[in-house]
Symmetry: C14
Subunit: 74 residues, 14 copies
């Protein structure tokens, strides 16, 4: 059933929707925070990087599962 | 089942919905932040670029999986 | 199964929904920012263009996948 | 399967939902911005036009794919 | 399969949901803006007309596709 | 398949959901605006009428398509 | 297929959901506006009536289509 | 197909969901308005009654269609 | 098809979801209004009762239809 | 078809979701109102009880229908 | 059809979703209210208990129906 | 039908989604309340514990039903 | 039916969505609270830990059920 | 049924959507908090790390279940 495998891979990579919205929210407030307190930009960028890396990780989990589905279940 | 493969590829590229909304939110607050603190525009643009690049990446994961589905599972 | 291919292409191009909403949010706050700080309009427009271009890109991914589905999977 | 092709075309043109909401949000804040700073109306209108054109483009992608589905997959 | 064609046409014209909500949001803020700055009503009405015309266009795309589906795919 | 035709007509007229919510939002803010600036009621009513007419139009598109589906596809 | 006709009529009359919410939003703000500016109640009631009539119209479209489906497609 | 007729009647009466939420929103703001301006309670109650009656009407449309489905399509 | 009749009755009574949320919103603001203006509690309670009765009515429509479905379509 | 009867009973009792959220919203604002005006706690509690009883009733309608479905349609 | 019975029981107990969110909202505002007016904590706790008990009851309805489905319809 | 039993158990345990969000909302406001009034932390923690315990209970109902489904309906 | 078992396990572990959002909301307000009242960080962290542990528990219920489904129903 | 196994794995890894949004919300407020109180950045970062680790854990549960589904149920 190759067709349903494609559907499964498509569903898996949709995990990135959450990361895309989450990173956008984080970036929006971080740029607002830099405007309010420019001298704290180093600390804000560190927090932003930490959060974005962890959020991006959830998108990568989805990507990895999608690739696994295509390679292993074909 | 070529039809379900097309559905799978269509689902996969939908990952870009999150990135589209996320980048929009990030840009909206960044332009507001530049208006509030124009001299911090360099730092704000850096944070915006970082966030948008990571969010765009989630859309690209979806695009790559959609292309993989079309090429490998056909 | 030509019918499901059409459904797949229709799903793929729906990626533009996120970009449409995202660009609208970004534009709304950018025009507000220009009203608040008209002399920063150059920098605001640059940030707006950057964000809109990246968001538009996610819509184009969906468009490209929809065209690929129609051409390659027919 | 002509019926599913019609469903696919109907799904594709739904991309305009995002553009419709997005343009509405952008216009709402732009008219508010003009009321707050009437002398900046030229710059606000430029930003509004840029954003609306890009958002409208996502609706046009959906329209084009819907026409392609009706013409090519019939 | 005449039935699914009817479903497709019904889906296509649903594009107007976005335009309906979007035009409502735009009008709501425009009337608020006129109340705040009555002498700018000309400029506000121009922006409102521009946005509503573009949003209405997305509804018309859906209408056109629905008519095409009924006429061409019957 | 008369049953699916009925479902299609039912879907088509659902377009009015967007118009119903949109007109409600527009009216709510317009009545607030009249309370804030009663002497601008003429201009506010014009903007409200323009927006409501365009939003109502999207509901009418759905109504027309629903009637077309019932008459032509029966 | 009498069953699906019933489902179609049920879907059609659901158009009233939008009108129900929209009229509620309009009434809520209108009563707030009357409390803020009691002497403008005539003008506010006119705007409220205009908006509610147009929103109610969308519910009536759905009702008419539902009756048409029951009478003509039975 | 008696079963699907029951589903159709169940869907039709769901129209009341919008009216239920809409009446709740209208009542919430009306009671707030009475607290703010107790001497305007007559006018507020009139607006509330007008809105609630129109919203209730949408629920009654759904009820009527549900009864029609049960009686006429059985 | 007794099973689908049960599903239809279950759907019909779901109409109460809107009433449940609507009554909750109305009560929340009414208790806030009583706290702000305790001497207007009589008028607030009347408005609350009016709104809750009308919202409850939508839930009762759903209940009646559910009972009708169980009794008449069994 | 015992299975679908179970699904119908499960759907029916879901009516409690609206009551659960509505009672939560009402309680949240009522406790806030008591904190703001402790001497009005009697009147606030009466309004809260009235609203919660009516919202709870919608959940009980769902419960009754679910029991009826299990007993009468088995 | 044991499988669908399991699905029905699973649906029924989902009623707890509304109670979970509602109790969370009520608790959040109650703890805020205690912080604002610590000497009114007794009255706030009574209102919170009343609301939570009624919301919890909706979750228990779902639990009871789920147990009934498993025991009686097996 | 072991497969649908697994789906039913999966649905049942999803009840925890409401509890997860509800506990998060309650905790967020409680920590804000402690920051505003640190000396009332004992009372705030009691209210938080009460609410979280009741919300957690809804998740446990779902867990219990899921276990019952796996053990009794297998 | 091994396939539906996989779907059931996938549904079960989705319970973590609520916990993920809830913990994020709780953490966001807790970090805001620490910034407002740094000397209360011990008490805030205790409340945060309590809430996060209970929310995490709902995710673990889903994980346990998913593992049970894979092991016992295979 | 390899296809449904792929769908199940795709569903399971979607758990990361909640974590992605949650981490984004937490990071957004944490960077705002650092801007408001830069000297408390150590404590804010600790709370952020605690919350993000727990939220990330829910995404990892989904990832683990997805891998288990692919390996054990194939």
């Amino acid at each position: 059933m190759t067709g349903l495998i494609a559907v499964g891979a498509g569903l898996a990579v949709l995990t990135g929707v959450g990361a895309g919205i989450g990173i956008g929210i984080a970036t929006s407030k971080a740029s607002e925070a830099i405007a309010r307190q420019p001298e704290a930009k180093g600390d804000i960028n560190k927090a932003l990087l930490l959060g974005c890396a962890l959020a991006e990780a959830t998108a990568i989990y989805g990507f990895v599962i999608a690739v696994l589905i295509i390679l292993f279940l074909k």
